[in-house]
């Protein structure tokens, strides 16, 4: 009896929760309204089945509860009814599947005119590459990666790469109303490029190029969240997509370097070189504004007394920092998990540049 009432309350409660819940889909900001329609259709079909079957069970347990003077019906099978139910279920499944596959066929066929943006994932940061004038992205390979001169691993011998525009930051701008095809690859582990407002998502797989497409339909700033587990800092791998008009987009894009131009850099200070190394390799795990992250913040780090996991203290100087970069798990700061990659391939000059940059954050 109580279980019957509980099931009725469950149905009422679930529906009430649905209608009063403040939690719902994020605002749609792409062309994928059809996906939202599919979500709604699927919701309605499954809600009806959920309500009907729960209520049916509730009625059964209330109406047919035990009575020692009564016998249950003897009703071992009813072929006709079973086939009718199979038929209804099949129709229901086709009703969901057919439009679903129809929308999916649009998802797997990006429009011809879509412009290409490359999305590159690494632990735990996003970067982006635009193809430049020729509209073609240069070939890339992990063997070409150098975190200072070629962080994207672009093949220097492929002329198509020579005009590629490198956006080494976690904010991507896109022009409104233009279909975009993101070509995606990863430098290390699996990641997933997911902007809830655009509805679509796809993994980044090392060794493969994957893709998805959408057309931004609303201006504004939207969150990127990595949606495939990628290690200790997975949850810190955020980013932003800013959708704006064509002119603002072009202005924004113009500030970024072209691949070839990186080789012929003008003289920069040693701290500036350190800052670039940090941008490329360090700042996805170490903040420079004091906020907690995967590793200790660099703000005020140089010169301070740091407590290690074994309870001892160490003063942060050149030697300590050098060791922590080259052999990071030798000393773990209290409260952190360790597990940072060893940056043993940095030259002495580069190490020194990085340490001088860290020192500036204590001034």
């Amino acid at each position: 009896m109580a279980i019957g009432i509980a099931l009725i309350l469950l149905v009422v409660g679930t529906l009430a929760f649905h209608f009063w819940s403040p939690w719902t889909y994020s605002e749609l900001a792409s062309n994928w309204g059809q996906i939202d329609s599919m979500l709604s259709l699927t919701f309605v079909v499954s809600a009806i089945v959920f309500v009907v079957i729960n209520l049916f069970v509730a009625v059964c347990v209330i109406r047919f509860r035990y009575d020692k003077d009564r016998k249950a019906d003897f009703d071992p099978e009813n072929k006709k009814m079973e086939w009718i139910l199979i038929g209804i279920t099949t129709v229901g499944v086709i009703m969901l599947l057919a439009p679903g596959l129809f929308v999916y066929s649009e998802f797997v066929n990006p429009p011809e005119e879509a412009h290409v943006v490359e999305v590159v994932g690494q632990q735990f940061a996003w970067s982006f590459r635009f193809p430049g004038e020729d509209g073609v992205l240069g070939l890339s390979d992990m063997r070409f990666v150098n975190i200072i001169s070629n962080p994207f691993g672009i093949d220097p011998d492929d002329p198509a790469g020579h005009d590629d525009i490198l956006v080494q930051q976690e904010e991507l701008h896109l022009p409104i109303g233009q279909p975009v095809k993101t070509q995606m690859r990863s430098k290390d582990v699996l990641h997933n490029f997911y902007v809830p407002n655009f509805r679509v998502k796809m993994d980044l797989v090392p060794g493969l190029v994957t893709s998805l497409w959408f057309t931004p339909t609303k201006t504004g700033t939207f969150d990127i969240a990595c949606a495939e587990y990628c290690g200790n800092g997975h949850h810190t791998m955020g980013g932003k997509v800013v959708v704006e008009d064509q002119a603002s987009f072009e202005n924004w894009l113009a500030q970024f370097p072209v691949f070839k131009s990186e080789d012929s850099q003008v003289e920069v200070s040693i701290e500036e070189i350190g800052s670039r190394i940090a941008q490329s390799a360090c700042l996805s795990c170490h903040s420079i504004d004091g906020s907690p992250s995967v590793g200790p913040t660099w703000l005020g780090l140089y010169g301070k007394q740091e407590t290690l996991s074994d309870g001892s203290t160490v003063s942060v100087d050149d030697d300590y920092l050098r060791e922590s970069i080259v052999d990071p798990n030798a000393k773990i700061v209290q409260g952190y998990a360790g597990g940072m990659s060893a940056f043993a391939n940095l030259s002495d000059d580069e190490l020194n540049a990085l340490i001088r940059y860290i020192e500036t954050l204590s001034e």
Binding site: W23, E82, L85, N197, V205, D223, N232
Partner: protein
């Protein structure tokens, strides 16, 4: 011929009495070859390891509800999600349903004295035991257990910056899985052979209880699916220790260096991370049904018994189990719709996945029609069955969302997925296990469970699972990604979502604590509970007809039971009571009612007296 078999059976029994009755505590309770003892060993070990899994979910919930307040590091959070997932799916659910229920029920329900290969059966348990020890050992090695996520996707899983992977964590995890698979293979072969060879006279396949159909089919799936995981585990071990590149493409670390297994090995190149995902899910999806099919069977039997009604559409139920078993091998890539595999696979795998919904729906319809015009006794096992129908329903329906590829794309890797698989595979399977444990406890121990504790356990758990998992669907709608120990300022989730997470945590912790009421109830009632008769639920199936309760070694006394009817003769018109046990010979007051099953060419009653 019938007579000859009978004599043979009796001789076999004499052998038992003379030579096989074990003496001494070691042979009797530790290295026992008795299927009932092995079943209890499997069950208790699985419950023990399940409690560790439950504790780990507490760790996760504390961190999600109150980020940072309990000193849980991100690394430990990732280790907790990994171990929780693997423990619950493999070491609890699979072990308990096949090793526990399978071992106990197959010989007893089929009228056999033991499994076909008792020695192999003992080995199966001890391999399982070792696999659990190896798994739990990873908590005590430097670096702790692996935090690669329970799916162990490479490249992450074998990179040293994964929590636990710099030590032995990942090696122990892979090694433990390999040992578990050996155990499951030995068990599975035994279950299949026993079902095919050791059924009592008159126990045709189409007279078997659905529990046996479920366990039998799941055992076949396990034999076919686990090898894929095994080769995946071996190849990953090679990649990790020997520096091969089965799953490893060329990748760089944060410093831009090409990664290799160790400094003296060449850099990884040319391998495919997706290959591992295919191997994993080729095992992983049948695995869902390795758990679900025995659960379906248990629910069918417990439901019919307490509804005092024949299971509706037995025939269709058997065919649905077989159909699900077959189709479950061609749906695996629905776990990979956003994995970067060839997107055209999506059309095929979405279609097969939605097709499997049809036999699954048949099962739900037949359960609820079994209730219709029944005479329902709301005993505790029955409450769990009704709870199961409800949670399996909602979990199955959300399967229609995630199986339909375009609907999966926005929801994949969000809390919607967490809600889906916990309800359909976690909660529902656990409800079926509870239904089974409450149902068969009086037979296993000869005593009843305490009713107040039983009801407390059910009600808090039933309300709890909805309070915990229903709102998670909505967090998924918000786009909240899974496997995040905290949601920093980077993401624009409403503050109310954080409050909701705290609320879910409190509900989950209450529900977790109530599970200890169940543990206490089992332990207390096994010794102090009210004495139970041999067939307290007035059930038809053979395990309730043993001469002793609990059944003794050899199960059946001097002669084996002879089966005269199917497993569901409840409320047969013309019978003098509302159930006729399977070994009741047909008579005026006990008419046969299963002739409808003979009409389909599956009968085998030539030996009928």
């Amino acid at each position: 011929m019938a007579k000859a078999e009978h004599v043979e059976a009796e001789q076999h029994h004499d052998d038992h009495d003379d030579h096989h009755e074990p003496q001494g505590i070691w042979q009797k309770y530790i290295f026992s070859q008795d299927h009932k003892i092995i079943a209890i060993q499997y069950t208790l070990t699985a419950i023990f390891v399940g409690l560790i899994g439950l504790g780990l979910s507490g760790v996760m919930r504390l961190q999600l509800g109150f980020p940072g307040d309990f000193g849980i590091t991100d690394a430990f959070y990732f280790q907790a999600i990994t171990m929780h997932g693997m423990i619950m799916v493999v070491y609890l659910l699979t072990a308990l349903l096949l090793g526990g229920f399978g071992n106990y029920l197959i010989p007893l329900m089929l009228g056999a004295r033991d499994m076909a290969f008792p020695y192999l059966n003992m080995l199966s348990y001890w391999f399982y035991f070792v696999s659990v020890v190896v798994l739990l050992a990873s908590f005590f090695v430097p670096g702790g257990p692996t935090g690669a996520g329970w799916t162990l996707y490479p490249p992450q899983s074998i990179l040293p910056n994964t929590p636990g992977a710099d030590g032995l964590g990942i090696v122990l995890m892979i090694g433990s899985l390999a040992i578990f698979i050996v155990a499951a293979t030995m068990g599975g072969l035994n279950y299949v052979v026993t079902v095919l060879q050791l059924r009592a006279k008159g126990m045709t396949l189409m007279r078997m209880p659905l529990s046996i159909w479920g366990i039998f089919t799941a055992s076949i799936l396990a034999l076919l699916a686990f090898p894929a995981l095994f080769v995946g585990a071996v190849m990953m071990m090679f990649d990790n220790l020997l520096g091969t590149s089965f799953f490893m493409p060329a990748i760089v670390d944060a410093a831009g260096n090409l990664v290799s297994a160790s400094p003296d090995k060449p850099a990884y190149s040319g391998g495919s991370p997706l290959l591992f995902q295919h191997l994993f899910w080729y095992f992983g999806h049948p695995e869902v049904y390795i758990v679900a099919l025995p659960a379906f069977g248990v629910i069918s039997d417990v439901l019919a018994t307490h509804a005092r009604k024949t299971i509706f559409g037995y025939h269709m139920m058997v065919w649905a189990i077989l159909a699900i078993g077959v189709i479950s091998f061609v749906v695996w890539a629905h776990h990979m719709f956003v994995s970067g595999m060839n997107p055209y696979f999506g059309f095929f795998f979405a279609s097969t996945t939605l097709v499997i919904a049809i036999p699954t729906a048949i099962k739900v319809y037949n359960w609820i029609f079994t209730l219709w015009r029944g005479n329902i006794r709301l005993n505790t096992p029955m409450l769990w069955c009704i709870g199961f129908i409800s949670t399996f329903l909602i979990g199955g329906l959300t399967g229609l969302w995630l199986g339909n590829v375009i609907v999966d794309i926005p929801l994949s890797d969000t809390y919607f997925v967490i809600a889906h698989f916990h309800l359909v595979m976690g909660v529902s399977a656990v409800f079926a296990i509870f239904a089974g444990l409450y149902h068969w406890f009086p037979k296993v121990t000869g005593r009843h469970l305490n009713k107040i504790m039983s009801r407390t356990h059910f009600w808090v758990t039933f309300v709890g699972v909805y309070v915990v998992f229903l709102p998670m669907h909505y967090l998924g709608f918000e786009g909240m990604p899974r496997r995040y120990p905290s949601y920093g300022e980077d993401f624009n989730f409403p503050a109310s979502a954080t409050d909701l997470n705290a609320f879910i945590t409190i509900a989950a912790i209450i529900m977790g604590i109530v599970q200890f009421v169940f543990i206490f109830n089992m332990a207390w009632s096994a010794f102090k509970g009210k004495k139970a008769e041999g067939n307290p639920w007035e059930s038809t199936t053979l395990e309730w007809q043993t001469p002793d309760t609990p059944p003794v070694h050899g199960n059946w006394g001097p002669s084996l039971p002879v089966v005269h009817r199917w497993a569901y003769d409840y409320s047969v018109p013309g019978a003098n009571k509302d159930y006729l046990t399977q070994d009741t010979a047909p008579s005026a007051t006990a008419p046969r009612s299963d002739r409808h099953l003979d009409d389909h060419g599956t009968h085998n009653n030539g030996h009928e007296d």
